[in-house]
């Protein structure tokens, strides 16, 4: 595996080898018959984190979440929450609450009864239930809807009831299954920030399952990217985007241009890759840990490539191509440029000025350039 050197990060709890994980998933496997839904996953999540499990449908992220909640038993491996082994602890005795994708609000109960349900199961005193439910409804701004039934609420209000209901028991861990999936786009953006604020305010550890990379990037302290039952990479949103550890992650998160090539120069402070697809060499200003002559791929994000009509001077990497497509998206433009090898490169440029780059048009010959720090070298 190619590990790219990266700048020193700020000291976070997950970089501290001494830190005790709050949730410890230890080599957990879950099989349904012959199908392996979760394959030997180990994961450490720390207190007050907002951890996102990100992946496509069927990648095992929901199964992993349901094992944390206790709805599924791991086939092998163990789960510890706050140091306690969760094996054989049924869902109704776990210090964990879940917010369901469908919200699962009890349709025959009012908002207030829904929120009070969990406290009633624990035999909390009546007056305490009342104050805690009131506080919670105030927090999610639903006091005036306390007597309504779920079907009398809008989608956003239902989402907040579900959140209130799962938070009112002050769980050690809150699990959220696609928490914003049922909301429309505008509301979703607004609710994302609300969710982060609430999490910081209450200091509860969140584990969120989502298939939406934008949602994961906005919400989380760290992201675990999953595919086919395995965790591919764990890291902060920035790590995952700027330093993907595999072609899968690079392509799954955002757009990327991938140039296949061979490592022809391998020094600790720089490498050179000969790529037939590019029709030249790629100069990278950091070392990689691959064997010389290895077949690797250089991944370059579309926004890190500069497009120009004149050949730029003093550029680390330059390529030449013909503009095939231009898509104007308002805030930015997307250019598809075909190289001599036939490879199509995607470039995005912000539309900083109203008439910027208006001169670039279809079938023109353009120059593409990027900084030597931009490519990420991937071997798998």
């Amino acid at each position: 595996m190619a590990t790219n050197a990266r700048p020193q990060q700020q000291l976070a709890v997950w970089n501290d080898p001494q830190a005790v994980p709050y949730v410890h998933i230890d080599r957990v496997t879950k099989k349904f018959g012959d199908f392996v839904a979760v394959n030997n996953v180990s994961l450490k999540i720390y207190k007050k984190e907002l951890f996102c499990l990100l992946g496509g449908s069927g990648c095992g992220k929901t199964t992993l979440l349901r094992m944390l909640a206790g709805f599924e038993e791991p086939t092998s491996g163990k789960i510890f929450i706050d140091g306690v082994d969760m094996t054989n602890i049924p869902p109704y005795e776990r210090p964990v609450n879940m917010m369901f994708q469908s919200y699962a609000l009890f349709p025959h109960m009012t908002v207030e009864q829904n929120v009070a349900f969990g406290l009633k199961q624990d035999g909390v005193a009546k007056h305490e239930i009342r104050t805690r439910v009131d506080d919670m409804l105030k927090l999610v701004r639903l006091q005036q809807f306390a007597q309504r039934k779920p079907h009398q609420l809008s989608g956003g209000q239902r989402q907040r009831v579900a959140l209130a209901r799962s938070l009112v028991k002050r769980p050690k861990l809150l699990l959220l299954d696609e928490p914003l999936g049922a909301l429309d786009k505008k509301l979703r953006e607004h609710t994302q920030f609300e969710l982060v604020n609430l999490q910081e305010q209450l200091g509860v550890t969140f584990v969120v399952v989502t298939h939406d990379q934008e949602e994961a990037m906005t919400l989380s302290t760290r992201i675990g990217v999953m595919n086919a039952g395995e965790i591919i990479q764990v890291g902060t949103p920035k790590d995952i985007y700027e330093y993907p550890n595999s072609k899968f992650v690079a392509e799954f998160i955002g757009n990327v241009n991938m140039f296949e090539g061979r490592l022809i120069e391998d020094e600790p402070d720089h490498v050179r890759i000969d790529s037939a697809e590019l029709g030249g060499t790629i100069f990278v200003d950091h070392g990689v840990s691959s064997a010389p002559d290895a077949v690797v791929a250089a991944a370059i994000r579309p926004e890190k490539i500069i497009i120009s009509l004149e050949r730029p001077e003093q550029a680390d990497n330059v390529a030449q191509g013909i503009v095939k497509e231009i898509a104007y998206l308002g805030d930015m433009s997307v250019y598809l440029v075909q190289l001599a090898s036939g490879k199509v490169v995607r470039i995005t440029q912000p539309n900083t000025y109203r008439h910027a780059e208006a001169s670039i048009t279809w079938d023109q010959t353009v120059y593409l350039s990027w900084h030597a720090s931009s490519p990420v070298v991937l071997s798998e």
């Binding site: 869902p91 879940m98 349709p107």
Partner: protein, 278 residues
């Protein structure tokens, strides 16, 4: 386009005429003065009076109502258990057999069900002395066996459309399985249970064949009494009885229809309000 809607209209008119003319004719002739039923002899309500004096019919009706009520209650309890097991317990040993035994009575000809249950009761009486003779008990058991199948199907299909994350949410919030059933599942599927009860009640009230096999002397149900009278030909007091039954059922169905329509309308309004108040 015009042509096809005329066609559809005439189909409906013809079809519903076929379904309703016999029922309407029953009612009209119940007000016929003549004993000959189908020969009009002037308007009269005398047959309704006669019906109220007919102790045989009244006793049979009372007996049938009692059996139907006990049957419906028992069938709902057993059918709910069976439906719950089939819809929620995943794959357990003997599930296929249970599923088969709850759907088979639905399509079994009544003569077979009646005959086989009678054979069972005879054998059981010979071996254990219970049930002693045939009567209300045996008819109720037979009807419960038939109608619990209907309730199972209703409950099972209701549960399968019920979002099972509701039950998971309750468990997640600290409720134990038995409590979840009573506090979450049961209240939500209550409308299905009510329709299951009504269906069981009606089927029991209506059954002639099975009851004829498994009832004994002195426990003739209403359909058995009607049947023995009808075999002799038409009789005006049966028309009166039919009219009363049709009236009761119509009132019941229309009330239920209006109630459901109102509820639906209120729900629609609530949802519009909710959407607007976002």
């Amino acid at each position: 386009m015009k042509q096809s809607s005329t066609f559809r209209l005439s189909v409906l008119v013809f079809g519903f005429a076929f379904l309703y003319i016999p029922i309407l004719s029953l009612i009209v002739y119940s007000f016929n003065k003549s004993r000959l039923v189908t020969v009009w002899g002037g308007f009269s309500t005398q047959w309704y009076g006669r019906l109220l004096d007919n102790d045989q019919i009244l006793d049979a009706a009372w007996l049938s109502l009692k059996i139907a009520a006990i049957n419906a209650t028992g069938a709902v309890i057993l059918g709910t258990l069976a439906g719950l097991a089939l819809a929620r317990f995943g794959k357990f040993r003997g599930r296929t057999l249970l599923s088969g035994m709850t759907t088979a009575p639905l399509v079994m000809p009544e003569v077979i069900t009646g005959l086989s249950l009678l054979m069972l009761f005879v054998v059981m009486e010979a071996m254990f002395g219970w049930p002693a003779g045939r009567g209300v008990t045996t008819v109720t058991i037979a009807h419960m066996t038939l109608t619990l199948a209907y309730v199972t199907v209703i409950v099972q299909s209701r549960l399968s459309t019920l979002d099972d994350s509701l039950e998971e949410a309750a468990m997640d919030l600290g409720a134990r399985p038995s409590k979840i059933f009573f506090v979450i599942t049961l209240p939500i599927i209550a409308p299905a249970l009510i329709s299951g009860w009504l269906l069981s009640f009606t089927i029991s009230l209506d059954d002639l064949v099975i009851a004829s096999f498994v009832s004994g002397p002195g426990s003739s149900t209403l359909p058995m009494v009607i049947f023995s009278k009808v075999r002799m030909g038409v009789s005006p007091d049966i028309n009166a009885l039919a009219s009363i039954i049709v009236l009761l059922v119509t009132i019941g169905v229309i009330t239920a229809g209006i109630f459901l329509a109102r509820q639906e309308k209120r729900r629609q309004r609530d949802m519009q309000m909710a959407a607007a108040a976002k």
